[in-house]
Symmetry: C2
C-alpha cells in the first residue's frame, strides 16, 4: 500500500484524481504499478486498477492473475471490480471506502452476485485514513483554486 500511496501522490501532482494500484504475485514481487490516468489519456476508463491489471496480465502473458493481489488506495468502481473478476485476481486490498462510486461494498456490490463468476478475497480499509486524506486534500485544493 505504501507504493500505491506514493504513486497516488505523484498522480495528484500531475492533476489526476489520486488513486493508484499495485499488482503483486504470490511471492510479493511487484508485477505492475499504475495511477489513475483519466486526464492524461482523456479516457474515463483509464483507472489505476484496470491499467495495473492490464499491465500485469500482459507482463505475465497469460489470461488470469489467480495468484495475485491487487492493492489500491480506493474501493474499486464497477468497471475495475468487474476486471478483477474477469482476470480472476486472487485477492483485492483497498484503502478508502467509496460510497459514491465504489462497487464492492456499495452500489452494485459486484462480488455479491451469483452471476459474478469469480470473487476475490477482499480486505477493505487498509490505511484507510491516509488513502482518504489524499483524496480529500486533492478535492479541497481544487475547490479552493
Amino acid at each position: 500500500m505504501q507504493m500505491a500511496l506514493d504513486e497516488a501522490r505523484r498522480a495528484a501532482m500531475a492533476g489526476e484524481v489520486p488513486v493508484a494500484a499495485v499488482v503483486t504475485d504470490a511471492s510479493g514481487a511487484v508485477l505492475a504499478v499504475a495511477a489513475n490516468q483519466v486526464e492524461e489519456r482523456q479516457d474515463p476508463t483509464a483507472h489505476a486498477e484496470f491499467l495495473a491489471l492490464s499491465a500485469a496480465r500482459a507482463a505475465r502473458g497469460q489470461k488470469y492473475l489467480a495468484d495475485c493481489t491487487l492493492t489500491v488506495t480506493l474501493e474499486p468502481c464497477a468497471f475495475c471490480a468487474a476486471a478483477v473478476a474477469a482476470l480472476r485476481v486472487g485477492r483485492l486490498v483497498f484503502g478508502a471506502y467509496d460510497p459514491k462510486t465504489g462497487a464492492v461494498e456499495h452500489g452494485p456490490r459486484l462480488f455479491a452476485h451469483a452471476t459474478t463468476h469469480h470473487k476475490p478475497e477482499v480486505i477493505g480499509g487498509m490505511r484507510e485514513q491516509e488513502c482518504a486524506a489524499l483524496l480529500k486534500e486533492f478535492f479541497g485544493a481544487k475547490r479552493d483554486a
Copy 2:
C-alpha cells in the same frame, strides 16, 4: 445490428465466442466495430463492447460518447456495462439476453443503482433469436468437437 451479426460470425470462425459490437454517432455513421478478442489477445477483458467503445473514444479524441449508440449482439457483462456508464454512451442496444453473465437485466443490474452516475437509454432483445442462435451454434459445435 446486421453489421454486428456479420462481425460476430467472423469471430466464431476465428474461434472466438461470437459477440460483436458497433458504435455509431447521432447521424448513424459507424465510429468503430469490434468482435470479442479474448482468445486472440489472451485477455478476458477484450470484449467486443469495450474494444469498440475504446476505439470510438480514441477516434473521437474526447472523453465521452454521449451522442453515440452502442449496438451489441449480447447483453453486456458488468465490465462492459460499466464502460458504457463511464463513457456516458447515450444509447445501448443489445440482441440476446444473457442470464449467466449479463449485468443490465441480470445479476448486478448496473444501471439500476443510484451510484451508477450515467444510465443510457437501453433497448434489449433486438434480433434476439439470430443473436442467440449464433452463440448456441458456436457452443453446440464446441461440445460436438
